[in-house]
Symmetry: C2
Subunit: 141 residues, 2 copies
Amino acid sequence: MKITSRFTVAVHSLLAIYVLGKEYKMTSDLIASSVNVNPVVIRRTLSSLKAAGIIDVKAGSGGATPVKSADDITLYDIYTAVDCIDGNLFNFHENPNPECPVGKNIHAVLDSRLKDAQAALENELESVTLADLMKQLNILI
Amino acid sequence: MKITSRFTVAVHSLLAIYVLGKEYKMTSDLIASSVNVNPVVIRRTLSSLKAAGIIDVKAGSGGATPVKSADDITLYDIYTAVDCIDGNLFNFHENPNPECPVGKNIHAVLDSRLKDAQAALENELESVTLADLMKQLNILI
DNA sequence: TTTGTTGTAATGTCAACGGTTACATCAAAA
DNA sequence: TTTTGATGTAACCGTTGACATTACAACAAA
């Protein structure tokens, strides 16, 4: 099972907006042609990023523009903005048998371990900003 | 998106086998009644764990038994045994546009960050053994 | 008012998961 | 040797979520 590509699409879109936005009007069509997905997918992504206060999108006249500073946007912010995961990364089987000593205590034993693992992932995402990626990207361009 | 419950089902099953195995014959039916899923789901899980060399399952006479020491089984071992993920945790959109400066370099910029995040998750799973969980469980029983 | 764009609903396809039935295979006890 | 109780596995189903796509209303600026 994988984390939805909405996440990498969102990161890609933001890089496009923040890096190319001065030169071009960043419409959903233009971004879509860079990411190589349907423009509607981009509009949905931008809608989430807008709701999270990361960018602004102009209906009518068109174009997405930065709101937050790239230094203040972490990969974790993007990951939560596009709703990769609704709470728990790990699925847990429902209704373990409370009559069984293992079933009765499985949550007590396992829950915190799963939370720790998820937290490790999310902390790592938290440690990277969009500005970090832009620095790297500007060297390559 | 979530990591399949095969993982927590496998951990639950192993705890049952390692903790209750001395007292009971651990058949797929018995484990299924503790986990509260269909016995076939358990048989599939046990089959994976057997292929990974963690347990032995006796066809015919029935019952699952430990092979590896609980100290030598990490949550990561279980996670890989049941194939939660086939390589990359993060899905990446295919074919970003190589004509675009962002599309051309998105992998160079993002891949290592995603790998780091995934590694953080997996290292955390690697740091917990089945024996750790058994210790906790035995206190609660 | 025309034009280009965004917002969003609706629909279709596809893959994965988990549930379930069915049955062949197997090993040990009777 | 037959019976019994398990496992191994194929087959099929229903559900869910992702992503693609079409369609069109709403909108803002030229």
